[in-house]
């Protein structure tokens, strides 16, 4: 692909992206031996949106991504990308890019050699963007990838993911190694890349509050199952916090499921599963209890910890 074609694309939009249908997953199961990791997962990843794939460690996020891309075989179920099964399907897979921090590189790969060879694998590769990002992230172009620091490796895979302009970009904890300044740089470049060339992104991360303004949709996994699949604002509405004197808070919470609770002196703070109703607000106001929204991070922590508790009890 000549750079002229890429420039033309820059002005006129994204012809490759048109006709994206998204990813459709039905009753997906994956077991490793006796360990049932993905349990009947049914979810759609709508096209041209940024999806946060969230959940505690070990709930199956990485497995889900690698099964979608057929890096790991599924046990049963259906996966369609743009209506096609990705298994042994080069046409579909060349529309995808999958990066994670522990990306394996060959011994002699350097950032420079990778940025030279990768356009072969990614039809939409944006060489100008790759150059600009490499310079902004101060990637040492001549250093062998295996010798890069953790932060530099994160930066390298980020440069690859954004420059690939793959219609389906999967980023699995891409930037844990980055310091705050470089994470801010990533968020900025990510927002710009999405604005200029919309694509479908599936991003897993633990730094949820930092990234939540970039997400449009939230898919939460708990113990191999999808428990939340919602627009980000609706996801935040799926729980709320009551804070006040313990007996009143308990009464207000009623029979509803409590995801998490904290105590500070006489004050009890509980995260309640569900949406706060007008009645909740009224009764809470009368009883001097505050009703507060949860952040996405708190929500994932509350649900994630519950999952961990269950795991501890062997449920």
């Amino acid at each position: 692909m000549s750079s002229q074609t890429l420039q033309a694309d820059h002005r006129t939009g994204t012809p490759w992206d048109t006709g994206q249908q998204g990813i459709r997953i039905r009753n997906l199961n994956k077991s490793f031996g006796k360990k049932h990791v993905l349990k009947d997962v049914t979810v759609d990843f709508a096209p041209h949106r940024v999806h946060g794939l969230l959940g505690a460690n070990g709930v199956g996020k990485t497995t889900l991504m690698s099964v979608i891309l057929n890096h790991t075989f599924r046990s049963s179920g259906e996966i369609l990308i743009d209506g096609e099964d990705p298994r042994e399907n080069a046409k579909v897979l060349e529309r995808t890019c999958f990066i994670h921090e522990d990306q394996k590189f060959h011994d002699d790969d350097t950032p420079a050699s990778l940025l030279r060879i990768l356009p072969t694998f990614y039809p939409n590769w944006d060489a100008q963007l790759a150059e600009r990002l490499a310079s902004r992230f101060q990637l040492p172009m001549g250093t062998r990838a295996v010798k890069l620091s953790r932060g530099q490796r994160s930066a390298l895979v980020i440069v690859i993911a954004l420059s690939s302009r793959a219609p389906y970009t999967f980023m699995d904890e891409p930037y844990l190694g980055l310091d705050p300044g470089h994470r801010a740089l990533f968020y900025e470049e990510f927002a710009r890349a999405m604005a200029e060339h919309p694509r479908t992104v599936i991003l897993s991360t633990h730094l949820i509050d930092e990234v939540s303004d970039l997400l449009e949709n939230v898919v939460m996994l708990e113990d191999g199952r999808v428990t939340v699949d919602a627009d980000i604002d609706h996801a935040r509405d799926s729980a709320f916090v009551l804070r006040g004197l313990e007996p009143v808070v308990r009464e207000l919470a009623g029979g509803r499921r409590i995801l998490r609770e904290h105590r500070l002196g006489n004050i009890l703070s509980v995260t309640v599963d569900g949406t706060a109703t007008d009645g909740d607000h009224r009764r809470a106001h009368e009883a001097n209890v505050s009703v507060e929204p949860v952040t996405l991070q708190e929500l994932v922590a509350a649900r994630g910890m519950r999952g961990a508790d269950n795991a501890d009890r062997g449920l």
Binding site: E188, M194, A195, E216, R236
Partner: protein, 120 residues
């Protein structure tokens, strides 16, 4: 850089921030406001969210899109915002102030005196 949340959807927070800038004259009538892409990169937010914030102000008649050029502050944009905020003044400022005054035992006269003191 990210606008604060206080539980409201981020696009509303961003729309208010742009509105503040218009009322303060940082974006005068007929001047261009930043594009969706510029807002997204600057605030590190999803471009769809930035677009929604601009769309809200366009729907209110505060901003007007000019096809292929950009989005501009409409002639009566500042007045529309002022009118909207006058309507919300009671809810947003008076009621919380009265509630706090009651907690502190301040009388209505005390409050009036305080307001007089701070009014140039």
């Amino acid at each position: 850089m990210t606008p604060r949340h206080d539980g409201r959807p981020i696009f509303m927070v961003l729309a208010d921030q742009i509105a503040d800038d218009i009322l303060q004259g940082n974006y005068p009538v007929d001047s261009a406001v930043p594009s969706t892409n510029e807002l997204a990169a600057f605030y590190r937010i999803n471009p769809a969210t930035a677009g929604k914030a601009l769309g809200r102000l366009v729907d209110q008649g505060v901003l007007a899109r000019r096809r292929g050029i950009g989005t501009f502050v409409a002639a009566d944009g500042p007045e529309i915002l002022r009118e909207e905020r006058r309507k919300a003044f009671n809810e947003d400022f008076i009621r919380p102030a009265v509630a706090e005054a009651q907690r502190l035992g301040l009388s209505l006269d005390d409050m009036v005196a305080l307001i007089r003191k701070d009014t140039p």
